[in-house]
Symmetry: C2
Subunit: 511 residues, 2 copies
C-alpha cells in the first residue's frame, strides 16, 4: 500500500479524437494503492500530495499501459524452428515444435512484453502447446501464475476445437486420402489426448472460480468457426453468458477460411455466427482479414470486436485487414502481436507502427490511421476487448494506475521539430528499447529498464536449462509426423481456386 507521483515532460492521459490526445506538459499522476487520484500539472500535483515516492522526470513521456489484444505463447515458432508459412501449413508445422515449460515460457514472454510497455495481454492458449504430461487445469493455472508473478493483467483463455484438425474438411475424409501408415500415425497423435467439450467447459469454469482476480480474467475460446461444431459454439455462448465472461475466437484469418464458409454454409463464417446468435459485445475476434462489407456491418451492429494482428497477417500470408473500413463503420478494433510481431520480439510499439503504415491506402484523399487512433486502439480498445474497460485505458481519476514511462532521448536524437506532437513521436519513432518504467495497479514492475521483482537473468537461465535437454522420443515422432504430413496439406489447399474479387485496398495494378 503506497502512493506515488509519476511525472513526465508529457503526460498523455488518453485520446480525445483522431487528431488529438489530452497531453499535459510537465504533468503528473498521483496514485494511491493502485488507484489514480489526480492528474494534472506536476507543480500542482506536487503541492497537493505527499507521495511515498516520486517517479519520472522531464526525460520521459507518461502514457497509459498498452494492451496486446491477441497473443498465444512465449518462444516464437521461428525460435523453435519453423519458418513463416501460410497459416494452413504453418499450423501443422507447429506440431513439430518442442515442448516448453508453460510457466517459464509465459514468464519469459511476459518480461518481453513488459519491456515494450505492455501492461495487459489477451492470452489465448493453443492446446497443441500444452505439455502432454500435465492436466488441462494445471497447465492453465501455471500460465496464469506466470502472469501473476510478472505483475501483468491478463485475459486468459484455453482455445478449443472439435473438428477439421488437419485441413478444412472432416478429419476421416482427409485421412482416407493419405498413405495408411501416415494416417494411422496421425490418428494416434490426435487421439492421444482427447479433450472433450465438457472437459473444456469445466476446466474453464474452475479457472474462473479459482484464478480470477483484480488482474486476471478468464475467457472462453472456441478456436475458429470452421474448427468448431455448431453444438460447441452454442454451448460456449451459453457458458459465457452464464459466467458473464468474454469469448475470444479466431475469424476469417485467411481467404481459405472465408471460402470454407461459402462452401459449407453459403455465407461467411461471421454470418454463420450471427445466425447462431453467437455475436455480441463480449465477443472479440482475432484477425478478421477476409471480412466482406456485409461482415463489417454485422460486427458494427452486434458490437463484436476485431483484434487485428498486422505483422502476423503478413508473416502467415493471411493478407491485410480492412482496418480503415472497420473504423469508419464504428467497429471496436484492438491490436495484437500474436506471439511474435514483425521482429519476432513482441514489441508493441513496433506493432503499433506496422498497424499505422500498412493500412495507408494510395490516393491523396484515402483514409490513414493517425497516431492518436493507433494509441486509442492499443489503450481504450484493448481495455474493452479484455473486459478491463472500467479499470484501464486512460490516466484518469478512478482508473487503476497502469502506465508506462518512455525515455525521449533516442526518439528526439539529434533533433525533433519542436512542434511535433508527442503521440506522433512515439508512434513514428518509439521502440521497446525506449521503455524505462512500467507500472501496473501502482506496482512498479520495471524501472530504468530493470525488473523490480523478477530476476530476469535467473529466469532466462532456468528457461535455457529446460531447453538444453535433447528432444524426447515423443517430440521427435511428432516432428517426423508433421514433416511427412505437410506436403499433403499443401497439396490439399492447392486444390482450391482462390477468390479474386474486388479488394478493400488497392496497392498496385497489373495493367
Amino acid at each position: 500500500m503506497a502512493s506515488t507521483i509519476v511525472r513526465g515532460r508529457y503526460v498523455v492521459t488518453g485520446v480525445i479524437d483522431e487528431n488529438t490526445s489530452n497531453i499535459i506538459e510537465n504533468g503528473a499522476v498521483f496514485q494511491r494503492d493502485g488507484e489514480i487520484i489526480e492528474v494534472g500539472p506536476y507543480e500542482e500535483i506536487r503541492s497537493r500530495h505527499q507521495p511515498d515516492e516520486e517517479i519520472g522526470s522531464s526525460d520521459f513521456a507518461v502514457i497509459p499501459g498498452l494492451v496486446n489484444a491477441h497473443h498465444h505463447v512465449g518462444l516464437t515458432p521461428f525460435q523453435l524452428g519453423t519458418l513463416d508459412m501460410p497459416l494452413e501449413t504453418w499450423i501443422i508445422a507447429r506440431w513439430a515444435l518442442r515442448d516448453v515449460d508453460p510457466y517459464l515460457d509465459t514468464l519469459y514472454c511476459a518480461m518481453q512484453m513488459i519491456e515494450s510497455g505492455i501492461t495487459t495481454v489477451m492470452h489465448n492458449h493453443m492446446m497443441a502447446r500444452l505439455p502432454s504430461d500435465a492436466g488441462l487445469y494445471e497447465s492453465g493455472a501455471r500460465i496464469i501464475e506466470a502472469y501473476e508473478d510478472s505483475g501483468m493483467r491478463v485475459a486468459f483463455s484455453l482455445s478449443h476445437r472439435d473438428q477439421n484438425h488437419l485441413v478444412y474438411e472432416d478429419d476421416e475424409r482427409f485421412l482416407a486420402t493419405l498413405p495408411a501408415t501416415l494416417a494411422q500415425g496421425i490418428r494416434d497423435y490426435l487421439g492421444g489426448r482427447p479433450i472433450s467439450l465438457e472437459d473444456h467447459l469445466s476446466v474453464t469454469a474452475e479457472l474462473i472460480d479459482k484464478k480470477q482476480s483484480d488482474r486476471t480474467r478468464v475467457f472462453i475460446s472456441p478456436h475458429n468457426v470452421h474448427w468448431c461444431s455448431d453444438e460447441m459454439l452454442r454451448a460456449i455462448k451459453e457458458f459465457a453468458t452464464r459466467h458473464s465472461t468474454g469469448i475470444h475466437i479466431h475469424l476469417q484469418e485467411t481467404v481459405y477460411q472465408k471460402m470454407y464458409g461459402a462452401r459449407n454454409w453459403g455465407k461467411t463464417p461471421l454470418a454463420h455466427l450471427a445466425d447462431l446468435g453467437f455475436l455480441g459485445p463480449e465477443v472479440s475476434c482475432a484477425h478478421g482479414v477476409w471480412l466482406t462489407e456485409a461482415d463489417i456491418d454485422i460486427l458494427a451492429e452486434t458490437g463484436t470486436a476485431i483484434c487485428s494482428n498486422p505483422s502476423s497477417n503478413l508473416r502467415l500470408k493471411s493478407g491485410v485487414a480492412p482496418l480503415n473500413v472497420l473504423l469508419e463503420k464504428g467497429v471496436t478494433v484492438a491490436i495484437g502481436i500474436d506471439e511474435a510481431g514483425l521482429n519476432d520480439d513482441n514489441d508493441i510499439l513496433q506493432e503499433m507502427r506496422v498497424a499505422q503504415k500498412i493500412h495507408r491506402v494510395p490516393g491523396v484523399a484515402s483514409p490513414a490511421l493517425t497516431s492518436h487512433q493507433i494509441l486509442d486502439l492499443t489503450t481504450v480498445n484493448g481495455a474493452k476487448v479484455t473486459l478491463f474497460e472500467e479499470q484501464i485505458g486512460r490516466l484518469e481519476p478512478g482508473k487503476r494506475a497502469d502506465m508506462v514511462l518512455v525515455r525521449l532521448d533516442r526518439i528526439e536524437e539529434p533533433y525533433l521539430d519542436p512542434d511535433t506532437d508527442i503521440v506522433d513521436a512515439l508512434v513514428y519513432r518509439g521502440k521497446g528499447i525506449d521503455v524505462d518504467t512500467v507500472i501496473v495497479d501502482g506496482d512498479v514492475l520495471l524501472r530504468g529498464g530493470r525488473f523490480q521483482k523478477l530476476d530476469k537473468a535467473e529466469i532466462i537461465g532456468r528457461f535455457k536449462e529446460t531447453l538444453a535437454r535433447p528432444l524426447s522420443p515423443a517430440e521427435r515422432r511428432r516432428g517426423d509426423l508433421s514433416r511427412e504430413l505437410l506436403p499433403h496439406i499443401q497439396r490439399w489447399f492447392e486444390g482450391w481456386e482462390l477468390d479474386r474479387g474486388t479488394p478493400h485496398y488497392f496497392y498496385n495494378e497489373r495493367a
Copy 2:
C-alpha cells in the same frame, strides 16, 4: 596498408540460390590492403596467413557489407516536422523543412547507416534540400566529403527536374488557378535559384572529374519522368553514355504518376522512356510501385533495375511494389531505405525484413521472398545498381573487403533451434543494434559498436548546435508558402479519379 583475418561462427560469403547461401561454419576471411585474398575455415586460414590483426570470434556472423540502394538525405522529414503524407503533397510539405548543413547531415546519417551494417549507399540528393547560399558544385562536393570521412562507398547524384514543379501539369497553368498573391510568392520561390540543365550537367561532370575515387561513383539523375522534358532525358542519357556512368531516376512511384503517363503519352512513363531509348543496364529506377506487366517485361528486356523502398512506399501512400513478379521475370531488384525506413532510423536489417514480409501474398502456393533472396537483393543486386559489382557483393578472393560482423547473442536469446539457417536468423530477427563491426576496403569503420575514426558525440554535438539556431526569415517564408499551397495541391489531385484495375497482389476482398 594492413592485413586482417576476420572470423565468425558463420561466414556467409554470398547467396547461391533462393534457398541457399554459401555459409562457412567457424570461417574466416583473410584480407590484405582491402582485397580479399582467401576465404575458408578459420583454422586453415589461420595456418596459412600471419595477419597484422585478427577481428571477430564465434560470437559473430560475418556477412558481405549491405547496400542501401536508394537514399536522399540525413534528418528525416518527420524529424524536421512533416508527418507522413501522400507523395504528391508530402513533396510540397518538404519546402517547409529547415535548412541543414549538408556535410553534417550526411555524416550523421552515414553513421546511422554504418551502425546498421550499410557499407554502400545510392545517395540521390534532392535539390530542395541544398542550402540556398552554397553553390551547386560545393554542396555536392561537401556531401561526398562526408561520405569520404565516414569511409562508406557511395554512388552519388544530384537530382534534376525541369517541369511540373507543383502538380502533374504545367506550372503556369496550375499557378493561374491560385490566388494571385500566393501564385506570385511561388513564382518568386521557384525562380529564386534557377539551375539550368547545362549547370546540372557541368556540375555533375566536375564532380565526376574531381570527386570520383575507389569508393565514390558519381551518377546523373533526372528526378522522375513526369518532372523532366524529353529534351532533358535525352541529354542525360547522352551524358551518362559519354561519361560511362549510371543513371538513377524515380519511376511510377504512385498511381498518379502512372496515370499521368496515360494522359500525356497514352502509355506508362516507363514505356515512354523505352521510346526515348533511355533504358539500359546503367539505369536504376527507384520505387516502381505502379508497374504494369508490360512494364516489367520492358525492364527485363532492357536490363533496367528497380530500387524498391517498401517502407517509404507505405509511408507516402504509394502502395506495394510487385516484387514477386519483378523477380520472377528476372529484373534486377535492390532495396533502399529512402532516407527513413519504417522506424525513421535507417536500419537496413529492419528494411530487409519489411521487404520480406510485405510481399507475402495470400495463397499456399503463392511466391514469397526467402531470406537468401533478400540478402541477395541487398548485397549483389545493390552492388549492381551502384556500379560496384566488380568490387563488392560477395566475400570472395579478388573482391574488396567490405563486411559486417553481427553479434548473435540477442538473436539467439534465449533459444534458437539449432537447425536454423543463419541467414534466416539474420533476416527474421536481426536489427541494427546487433551490428558490432563494419569494414570497408579493409578499413575498420565500426568495432564493438564504436566508430574507429569518427567522434560520434562530437559530430552530433556540432550538428545539434547548427540546428539550435532559430528559423531564418527565408525558412519561415518558405514554410508559410508551403502551408498555404498544400490545400490547393491536395484539391488538384482529388480531381483525379483513381484507377481501380486488377492488382498484382490481393490482400483482402470486399464481397
